[in-house]
């Protein structure tokens, strides 16, 4: 690979600072007592403790999945701390009571809170290590009946809703990491959009892992009642450590009749250094249930960070005429590994799904798309369109595609297109011959390649994603 390409991919990680803040950390290790400790710290009701213990019991019997196309040493689950919270003296009533050091951290990260949130028109929930520290705009949202708060709070304030839906899309024993999350999840976001309400602003959560040797296990639950709609965004960062941190989240979405949930992620966890040291293991289960007729669930993700990403935001299309969408850009550089994609399970009649996946690999990285399209016998008239494109930068990286297609209904229509391209010396020379330097050329080529996905993102996120990709790939072209 030429020197320009190399230079272009290697931009320092700018979120790699640690905040000096007093934390309440649980002893390392996982056992029933730790789970009880987490549950009691959070003053949880008995049913939730049972939920956790049931998950833990299942987890003990399960094996770590080995099928993803990623390699890493065996994780010692006993060396992880399962609870880390910034110490605070009392429950916070307003943003003004939040530790100023924390606020400064989020300012550094560019998280819009306070008036900045007002200007941006985005309601934000912020999760620091394991605990939700601030939710903006709660009052205003409550006026239209929208519940937007941390999941711990929802457990106390809206226990019936949480109890009704938690674990219904991703059951406690769904997979190894989902079971682990169900046992030890600490916080996350809860969102309920009532019947007929179109959420007046984008909702956002920012996640931050701050403590070395702690895991982050957040749990997000979003319910769109009949005829409602919401656009939800999440952003993730973490400091630089030489060790690996585990992030095993579960996200569940439920869309009832005519409901529309759009979920966008810009994931920029620390990816490790240029030799593959450190970085986040991002093992995440995200699934949406398009339960009602004409409901729609749309996932958009820009995955640039993490040492390893293992994640398949999926849609179960149960309601008639329901729609599932997955738009993804996954970028890997240096020694990053990503095995990501989606599952579209068509159950209802005339269900439709679209998959657009763009993988970009640079350095020594490996980037795999893995996707399942399943058409059940009941899904008459179902349609799927999948498009998987890979782009290679340099000659030491890999791009892989693993599409699984299972069609059990004669009247379904499934289309799959795939392509692999390479940013070539000749393309860069062509740009140069028109006066355009290689950095700008690469950024243009990549943005062109990702255009179909970026245009699905809300405006601010699209700008951020474009910048992020530029940073990410800086120095990778020679």
């Amino acid at each position: 690979m030429s020197a320009v390409l190399q230079k272009l991919v290697n931009q320092p990680y700018k979120h790699g600072f640690v905040t000096e803040i007093e934390s309440d950390i649980a002893p390392k290790g996982l056992n029933e007592d730790i789970i009880r400790l987490i549950s009691s710290k959070k003053e949880e009701p008995e049913w939730l403790l049972e939920f956790r213990l049931k998950a833990y019991e299942q987890w003990l019997k399960m094996e770590e999945p080995r099928w993803p196309n990623v390699k890493y040493p065996k994780i010692d689950f006993q060396s992880i701390s399962y609870y880390a919270a910034p110490k605070q003296k009392k429950k916070l009533n307003s943003m003004d009571e939040v530790d100023p050091e924390l606020l400064r951290t989020f300012e550094k990260l560019g998280v819009p809170m306070h008036e900045r949130a007002a200007l941006a028109g985005v309601a934000v929930d912020v999760i620091f290590d394991s605990v939700s520290v601030a939710t903006t705009y709660k009052q205003k949202l409550a006026e239209v009946g929208i519940i937007f708060c941390s999941i711990s709070e929802a457990v106390h304030e809206h226990p019936d809703l949480v109890k009704q839906y938690l674990g219904t899309v991703v059951p406690v024993g769904d997979n190894y990491y989902a079971a682990l999350n169900s046992a030890v999840f600490t916080d996350g976001t809860f969102c309920f959009i009532p019947k007929g309400v179109k959420c007046p602003m984008d909702l956002a959560t920012y996640f931050r892992i701050n403590t070395e040797e702690s895991g982050q296990f957040e749990r997000t639950l979003i319910i769109g009642a009949e005829g409602s709609s919401v656009s939800y965004l999440e952003g993730c960062t973490a400091p630089k450590f030489d060790t690996n941190q585990l992030h095993a989240a579960v996200v569940e979405l439920v869309a009832l009749d005519n409901a529309d949930i759009k979920y966008s992620t810009v994931q920029n966890w620390y990816a490790g250094d240029e030799n593959g040291m450190g970085g986040i293991y991002n093992f995440v289960t995200k699934r949406g249930l398009a339960k009602g007729v004409n409901s729609r669930i749309s996932w958009t993700q820009v995955e640039t960070g993490s040492a390893i990403t293992w994640k398949y935001p999926s849609c179960i299309l149960q309601g008639e005429n329901s729609v599932g969408e997955f738009y993804s850009v996954a970028v890997t550089n240096n020694y990053q590994q990503a095995d990501t994609g989606t599952k579209m399970v068509h159950i209802g009649k005339n269900t439709r799904s679209t998959i657009v996946s763009k993988g970009i690999s640079a350095g020594h990285s490996n980037n795999s798309y893995r996707g399942l399209v399943r058409i059940a016998p009941t899904a008459t008239g179902a349609r799927n369109y999948s498009q998987c494109d890979s782009m290679l930068i340099g000659d030491k990286c890999g791009a892989h595609t693993f599409p699984y297609i299972q069609v059990r209904n004669q009247e379904a229509k499934v289309e799959h297109e795939a392509s692999t391209s390479k940013i070539g010396e000749d393309q860069l020379f062509y740009f140069a011959q028109r006066g355009i330097g290689s950095e700008e050329a690469v950024s243009m080529i990549i943005n062109g390649f990702c255009k179909d996905v970026f245009q699905q993102l809300p405006m601010e996120f699209a700008v951020e994603a474009t910048k992020l990709l530029g940073f990410k790939l800086e120095g990778s072209v020679g």
Binding site: F429, N447, G448
Partner: protein
């Protein structure tokens, strides 16, 4: 056109270059003055296209000897993009496709980069749109091509027109057209060459790299150079091109060898 007292734009002296360790250019001498049109002809593998790419700065070619002065400055001090900004333009024989990058975006960025270098105003998308549409009329191009990816799915003829459109926008000092006639039908050839002729003036110069005399019926050269095995072995006027058309290339080489032996 040859102008009296015209200054030298490009001065090539003893230029040698290799690709993958194999010497392709074995000592090229060529002087191009403002206003002139030079045709470089020769058989496949004679080194014509290599000369074009070496001048533009393609990094697959290593310069192993000689010098090139562009407006009195050492061309090899400049990176490829700096040469382009200084006014060296190469119309590619095989323009690459850049999927997903809109032509309009690409053209504007190239235009503004070169404008900035010349200390002139950059154009916003609307202003640029007016300019580019006007230039496209010159080349009889369909406006919908602005929204397509750079050369993406273009026919051979469309790609060549796009090259000349870029030449029209960037207004280079030195335009090197590498086999611009290949792949063009007679109508397209007429349109493209008409475009080139309108761009030629006393403040620039053109080097046409071509295999066939056909192109030179449309763009009349002041000088014709014949290349063989990495050297210019004969220089003449436009009549030489006609001779080549009638008699082929062999006699030039034979004549030159006879001259050397004599």
């Amino acid at each position: 056109m040859i102008y009296q007292d015209s200054k030298t734009l490009l001065e090539i002296r003893g230029l040698r270059a290799t690709v993958n360790g194999i010497e392709i250019l074995k000592g090229i001498d060529l002087t191009v003055k403002f206003g002139e049109v030079h045709a470089i002809m020769g058989t496949n593998g004679s080194g014509k296209s290599t000369l074009a790419k070496v001048l533009a700065g393609h990094d697959a070619y290593q310069v192993t000897g000689g010098s090139v002065a562009f407006e009195g400055n050492d061309l090899f001090d400049l990176k490829p993009e700096e040469r382009a900004r200084a006014g060296v333009f190469l119309a590619f024989q095989y323009p690459v496709e850049i999927p997903g990058v809109a032509n309009s975006h690409f053209l504007r960025l190239a235009y503004n980069t070169v404008q900035a270098q010349r200390g002139k105003d950059e154009l916003d998308p609307l202003e640029f749109d007016d300019l580019v549409r006007e230039k496209m009329k010159l080349l009889d191009m369909n406006p919908d091509f602005l929204d397509r990816g750079v050369n993406e799915g273009f026919s051979g003829g469309e790609k060549k027109r796009n090259e000349i459109l870029q030449m029209a926008l960037l207004e280079p000092r030195l335009a090197i057209l590498d086999e611009t006639d290949s792949g063009l039908d007679i109508d397209a050839l007429r349109i493209v060459t008409k475009g080139v002729n309108r761009l030629a003036n006393k403040d620039n110069a053109i080097i046409l790299v071509t295999h066939y005399q056909r192109l030179l019926n449309y763009i009349v050269p002041d000088y014709v150079h014949v290349m063989e095995a990495g050297r210019i072995i004969k220089t003449g006027d436009k009549e030489l091109a006609l001779d080549l058309e009638n008699r082929g290339y062999d006699w030039v080489g034979a004549e030159q060898r006879a001259a050397v032996e004599a």
